[in-house]
Subunit: 153 residues, 2 copies
C-alpha cells in the first residue's frame, strides 16, 4: 500500500488532499455563479445544460448526459424545469420513440448573450491569463480522464 502524500507514514493535512482542493474549488465556483445565474433564473447545472445546447442544439437526453456526466435520473427533472420555464422543448423523436430530443426555444437561445457576462465576470475575478486557465483546465481534464478510466477495477 503506497503512502499517498508523504515519505513518512504521517497523515497529511486535509488541505493537502487533491480531492479536498477540488471539493472547495467546485463549491467556490458554485457559490460564485449562484447569485449571478439566479438573476437569469438558472441554476448552475441548468446553465451547463444550456451551454451544451448553445454549442450543439437538439441533443437527446443521453447525449447531454454523456457530455455532462449525468444520468437521466438527474437530467429528466432538470430538463422538465427548463421546459416549464420556456427555455427548451422536449419531444420524443419520430425514429426512435425511446429517445427524448431536447432543443432550444427562442427564450433559451436569448440567454446565451446574457450568460456571457457571467463567464466574463468570473474571468475578471480569478485574474488568471488565458494560458494559465488553459493549463489548469488541461491538468484537471487529465485528472478527470485518469480517474474515470481507473474506475472499473
Amino acid at each position: 500500500m503506497t503512502d499517498p502524500h508523504s515519505e513518512k507514514h504521517q497523515p497529511p493535512h486535509l488541505d493537502d488532499f487533491l480531492c479536498f482542493a477540488l471539493y472547495k474549488a467546485h463549491h467556490a465556483m458554485n457559490r460564485f455563479y449562484k447569485p449571478l445565474l439566479g438573476e437569469l433564473g438558472l441554476t448552475y447545472p441548468q446553465y451547463l445544460v444550456l451551454m451544451a445546447l448553445w454549442e450543439q442544439d437538439d441533443q437527446s437526453v443521453g447525449q447531454l448526459g454523456e457530455l455532462l456526466h449525468l444520468e437521466s435520473n438527474t437530467l429528466t427533472p432538470l430538463l422538465k424545469r427548463l421546459e416549464s420555464a420556456g427555455l427548451v422543448r422536449r419531444r420524443r423523436t419520430a425514429n426512435d420513440e425511446r429517445q427524448v430530443q431536447v432543443s432550444l426555444m427562442p427564450e433559451g437561445r436569448e440567454l446565451k448573450q446574457k450568460s456571457w457576462d457571467v463567464a466574463a465576470c468570473l474571468f475578471e475575478t480569478i485574474g488568471m491569463s488565458r494560458e494559465e486557465i488553459g493549463t489548469l483546465v488541461e491538468d484537471l481534464n487529465g485528472v478527470t480522464g485518469a480517474v474515470v478510466a481507473g474506475r472499473g477495477r
Copy 2:
C-alpha cells in the same frame, strides 16, 4: 465587457471553461470515491468531516463548517447520520450552550486506518507525482481563494 476566452468574439467550447473542468473533475472524484467509501458505510462529505476530525478532534459545528465551507443546514443532518452510525458524538458545550461540539467515537477513529487505503488507491489511479499534485492543489486553492474573495461585489 471582456471576452473571457478568445480574441474573436466567438463562444468557446464547453470543454474550455474552467467551471466545467472543475465540475467534471469533482464529479469524477465523487464517482471514484463512492464505491470505495460505500464499503466503509460513508459518503464523500461524511469522509471529509471525519478527515477534519482526524486532523483535529472535538470541533464545533461552526468550525467544521468554516473548514469545509458548509453551513449548519448541511452539516446538522450529516452529523446526525454520523452520530447514529456511532462514529461521532454531538454534545452542547458547557461554556456556551449554543455551540455543539463534535468529537470522534472509537469506531470513527478506527476508520482512519481503513480510509488510508482509499486515498492511496486514488493516488495510484491518477498516476501523478507528489510535486504535480502539489502544484495542482496550489493552483486550485488559488482559484478558490480568488473566487471566494471576489464574491461580495
